[in-house]
Homo-oligomer: 378 residues x 2
């Protein structure tokens, strides 16, 4: 059975990258690898839309998130954490694990934070104890996208840095690091960058670098200073995930060749088509006002078993989508449109979704989803 | 030009593993991946020679080393650190970065620690503040192997756990985790396990698990409790490096098929042959009394430029060996015999070494190295 992967990470890896990663491995402290690393660094700056160094870690995205806390803050600092899903909550857990007091902004799952709520908290912080605001661009668990541009305008005049979890966003939705003035962007390899999981990335503004220099929380492997120092010599502080970086080099070249704007437009069109298609099936979006173009969350209709829907699509038809996580388990399903997921993949996905919905007893106009998808993608 | 990799990490990756990693990627929260993870866990226990769970991290070995500090200790705890090379020093740096006071045992580079020196320190610690002893099995930077079996006998009756950096050792030299009573073994993917860098591993004894439960140092991504909890459900707490784990599954099957004892004997024979060959060229071993069978360190002879030797072998002949690190830069070169490095690779390596030594003006009996290597390998 041919398998189709439409999960919000890992996303499909292009053959070009798989092939590059399957070449005999090379040593990392060689001119050959350093030339690759240099290209990767340059192309990462292009995708991040930044002129600053992008640090590369061998870890899941969560590792880079931890660094964006342990390498920035010091004991006694406070943070603001926007929590509107599983990954927003992770920022809070990270704060707690380092004894950093944080002011949570709890947002209903499926909705985006009101930027003004952040402003209010920063204005009330007259002693300037708040050193960082942690937000999630695309909340993978709910399919919500947050208005980072507006939030960056708010945080700019304050002492606090804006830290954005863009793991499910980079290369999928607009993110103008320098232009918007985002201090710290955290990303991962297995989403819009089309590479297997195992690499994470961080960009740092001058304001963020100032915090890094003063940071007094413990930490070693994710200590940004060591990576910053190494990258200036085109090196890494510890043995990097050599073949993932070699694969990333190919994936980034594909993004560059297509052009970042074209890539983002493709995501926008594909995600819109998915939204149109599921609506045509009479299904409801979980985040109708704040949807992300990286992953679309859809409410499981009354009378249908959400777990069984996802399982049947995967095991009977080879189409992998994601179910809900945590409190949304069984209540939503999620179709990713990130990275190397093509219009043809979406076609298979919606067709299979129709098949399985029918098998599970849901009533709808047969073929309506596929028809609308195709029209939307024209 | 065909390239030969004889560096002490990364080591060559078998075609079987490269091929498996080049397959279309799959999602990690699926029965298909969980079945792979289960096999990997079982086979890791075989190679670690332990009955306990082996935790898997997506990171370089250094990440797992950090966890073996931040997940075990608490503020006020003390540690003993054996420092006889770059990686022993890393244990000390890790302690410092968490404010953990440590008693260093500084060993001359090229020599192994006297186990009795550890005993003395533990006996003097009448208040039992020392909670961990950090040692390196194979010190990659010097080519020294340490007598862990004797050290484990010493630490056993004390409250302190024995933590062994076996990154350049697992699958290459004998390491009987349970039988010897090692509390924590740290390993990496890119050495004896024959996989690209990006995965690290940790085994924990009951004594070590007790410390983990009581640990009060901060940390999130390398928090052992989260991994221990996840592994019991055949899961990982964060998105794992899926394709590296799939490659590891193949590599571990190769080790199992050959048989761990045969694998270790092969390493022993290959390393002895390298030692015999370089001696036949009139070269001196850097660690004649405490050599490791994972990597052989050789003194650069008088009048030869060590950096140029390594560079010429790599750039002119495609044979990658390693030079010296830190204080040994230019003074030694290192030939790895770890993992998928075969007798044929060693043949090419010694032949090329002879060629380049001759080009650099060193005088020796031409052909003596290759001849002795072949005899030794018979």
């Amino acid at each position: 059975m041919k398998n189709y992967l439409l999960t919000p990470g890992p996303t499909p890896v292009p053959h070009e990258a798989l092939k590059a990663m399957a070449r005999p491995i090379i040593h990392h402290r060689t001119p050959r690898f350093q030339a690759i690393l240099k290209e990767v660094e340059e192309d990462l700056r292009y995708v991040f839309q930044t002129k600053t160094d992008v640090l590369i870690f061998s870890s899941s995205g969560t590792g880079a998130m931890e660094g964006a806390l342990s390498s920035l803050l010091s004991p006694g600092d406070k943070a603001v954490v926007v929590r509107g899903g599983k990954f927003g909550e992770r920022w809070g857990e990270l704060c707690s694990s380092y004894g950093i007091e944080f002011i949570p902004i709890d947002v209903e799952w499926g909705k985006a934070v009101e930027p003004q709520d952040i402003k209010k908290i920063l204005e009330e912080d007259t002693s300037s104890q708040i050193k960082a605001v942690y937000v999630t661009l695309c909340e993978t668990s709910t399919g919500v996208a947050t208005d980072i541009e507006s939030i960056a305008k708010i945080t700019k005049p304050f002492g606090a840095v804006l830290v954005v979890d863009a793991i499910s966003a980079l290369g999928a939705v607009p993110l103008k690091t320098d232009e918007w003035g985002i201090d710290v962007v955290v990303a991962g390899s297995q989403k819009g960058l089309m590479i297997p999981p195992g690499l994470s990335f961080v960009s740092l503004s001058q304001k963020a670098l100032g915090l890094v220099q003063r940071s007094r929380l413990p930490g070693y492997y994710f200590n940004f200073s060591a990576y910053k120092k190494a990258i200036e010599k085109n090196d890494t502080p510890y043995t990097p995930a050599v073949n993932l970086i070699i694969g990333l080099n190919e994936a980034l070249k594909m993004i560059k060749n297509e052009g970042l704007d074209n890539v983002l437009n493709r995501h926008k069109n594909n995600a819109r088509a998915v939204r149109d298609a599921v609506r045509a099936l009479g299904l409801e979006l979980f985040a109708p006002e704040a949807y992300s173009d990286a992953v679309t969350s859809v409410k499981v209709p009354e009378g249908v078993d959400g777990g069984r829907l996802v399982k049947t699509m995967r095991d009977k038809y080879g189409v992998a989508i994601a179910g809900g996580q945590a409190q949304l388990k069984g209540k939503i399903f999620r179709i990713a449109t990130m990275g190397y997921i093509t219009a043809a993949d979406l076609d298979v996905c919606i067709e299979t979704l129709e098949k399985v919905l029918q098998e599970l007893g849901y009533r709808f106009t047969k073929g309506a989803g596929v028809k609308v998808l195709k029209e939307s993608l024209k």
